[in-house]
Symmetry: C2
Subunit: 203 residues, 2 copies
Amino acid sequence: MSEDISLFDAMSTQRAIRNFKPDPVPQEALNKILEAASKAPSGTNRQMWHFVIVQDAEKRAKLSDIYRRAGRNALPNLQWLQDANPRILRSATHLIEHMDDAPVLLLACIEHGGETNLTTGSSIYPAVQNILLAARGLGLGSVLTTFHKQYEDEVREIFGIPDNVETAALLPIGYPADGVRYGPTRRKPIEEVTHWDVWGGRK
Amino acid sequence: MSEDISLFDAMSTQRAIRNFKPDPVPQEALNKILEAASKAPSGTNRQMWHFVIVQDAEKRAKLSDIYRRAGRNALPNLQWLQDANPRILRSATHLIEHMDDAPVLLLACIEHGGETNLTTGSSIYPAVQNILLAARGLGLGSVLTTFHKQYEDEVREIFGIPDNVETAALLPIGYPADGVRYGPTRRKPIEEVTHWDVWGGRK
């Protein structure tokens, strides 16, 4: 495991990996990923997060089936990618059909007092980003997905997730398939998305 | 700048910093922080994020005033911290009164098609976590705050933020005040928040 990767190397080469080898993920690596998740910030440090680690083949198949149905529903809205970024469309389509190729599926969940909104995410997605970065650092791949939310109740029933807990992301984790590479990734230049002192303010 | 910090060191020592020196943050460091933010994932890689960097003293004072009002509103609900974690309460109270001690205030925003919900956060808080980690890696401090959301419309008016954009977090950024240290941080053991194959499933 290449645990000594530098922070900035990890951030700049982390990318969505959607094709996996079937090789199992060592327990030690899962522990490091979970430790990394737990180091993230959360509102008032309350750590209302829960991580469901799914390795059982039957449960992975059920989750994969939900993701397939949800992803197929979403695909018509993703056809604009055919021109914009055909690589992502191919890769996303592959994952929709083959989520359980990954030996580990991780449900990142957030416990809440009632309703959730945008800022509820501030107490779970930083942990999810640490999971993605830790996977990168350990030579594993992952990707943040949310299609399964279309069938949130089904997911909750399969895993016995309580009413006051909501799933925030479904992440497959595994070793990248042969030929699948980490970044660099393509992003908008920071000048396009940065506003100095006022909206539209340029340097 | 200690840019060679390892990923796992950065994740395990990143912590909320709420006391700052007035020293300015070099432009090069801000650029590295923004680059790091832009490497985060977002839904279909659409990168609908915007980052407002506030260095102007008058605008920082206005934002600080909003944060002070909002934070004072919130304080009665935080008194349970007096027993649970008095250090956080002291530190949070300091930030409520002195947000603009920090030479840089960053508003992380997300552009959306209409309403936002929990999963909208999956396209902005991973970038926020990269900002926190990059700050740590550069010897700077920051903290993810959301109190200002009580006065979202005021914030939007001050900075001219459009209707289809919502602020997700307000982050002060600066060099940590003397005596303020990075982690290790206290967190629940991962065994308490991990469920193996089913809710409540233990190893």
